[in-house]
Amino acid sequence: MTVSSSLDERFRDAAAAEGLLDVAYDLADTPVGTLLVAASGQGLCRISFDPEPEREIDRLAHAFGARVLRASRPLDDVRRQLDEYFDEKRTSFELAVDLSPAADFTRQVLTRLAKVPHGQLTTYGALAKAAGRPRAARAVGTVMNRNPIPIVLPCHRVVGANGDLVGYGGGLDRKRLLLSLEGALLDERT
């Protein structure tokens, strides 16, 4: 006897509505691929370019608690804002984020990163300086690489001092795509 999808969804909705979850996650289809998006009671806590939940839910459970469940309702707003962003109808996200598992320095850097505006580039060094650690450009690079909430926390807007794209946790193709979507890259063909 299989659990029908309507019964399954009814349970997932009820679990979320009752506030019983440490983390709700769902998938979101975007031009940069299917993303896994997750929210705690405090806010958005994860966007992963790897949409395979098997690998992600253990990490989420470890960081936020074992009550991790796929549930679409709590992610409705996140999905809507992502859609608007990719449709070029939104240039900033209005979403609470939960960075509670991050170390202090990481949180400081990510909080500064959140203020880098749509379509503008900054450098690892400038971000280090803004976070009060001017010599920590390399450490900032590491923080970018492990950014738990890419796209919304726009690590794709951070490039090397010479304008080199350097790297991206989701792969350089995605970084290029996000930056051209925002009009931040000069079309290389012209």
Partner: protein, 174 residues
């Protein structure tokens, strides 16, 4: 990582530094995994006990209760018996709501014919407790400790209920 040896979540081997603490092999899994592993068999179990709609409500209530209690679990052992226990209690609550005198729900016949379904039919005339013990033992392969938990009694009582159920069946089907 904080070492909380008392909860049994982490085991410390002799001479290891706290850094080397490893999660116990039976850590509580993310709820999603627990849910996916047990949702089908719990629905089957409840469908054996209750009419369709009541079974589906009881199924949802079972997993909501499990979720409410999930943070207080200290390890991931016996999760299967644990969720069967919850399901059984939810079913009893449901039956009592409708028939205040009832102690255990009676098993309904099943649509499909795997072992637990054959057993549901075969055991129809057994006393309720023996029937639950026989079906959980031979239909779902729970051990007597687990069945004891479901029946809220000891493993000895569970074993007795199952064996007297089996004896009764032998007599009836001779």
């Amino acid at each position: 990582m904080k070492a909380d040896v008392s909860t049994g979540h982490f085991r410390r081997a002799r001479g290891q530094s706290p850094r080397a603490l490893k999660p116990a092999p039976q850590a509580v899994p993310p709820f999603e995994r627990f849910y996916e592993e047990h949702r089908e068999e719990i629905l089957r179990y409840l469908r054996g006990l209750l009419p369709r709609e009541a079974a589906e409500d009881a199924w949802q209530e079972t997993f909501l209760r499990a979720l409410r209690a999930y943070s207080s679990l200290r390890h991931g052992r016996h999760l299967r018996a644990w969720v069967f226990t919850i399901a059984h209690r939810v079913a009893i609550d449901d039956v009592r709501k409708r028939r205040p005198q009832a102690t255990l729900p009676e098993w309904a016949a099943e649509d499909s014919r795997p072992a637990y379904a054959e057993l549901a039919d075969l055991t129809r005339d057994l006393p309720p407790k023996e029937r639950v013990a026989v079906v959980l033992r031979y239909g779902y392969d729970l051990d007597y400790d687990q069945i004891g938990e479901v029946l809220e009694s000891s493993n000895v009582a569970a074993r007795q209920a199952a064996s007297s159920g089996v004896r009764r069946l032998r007599k009836e089907h001779r």
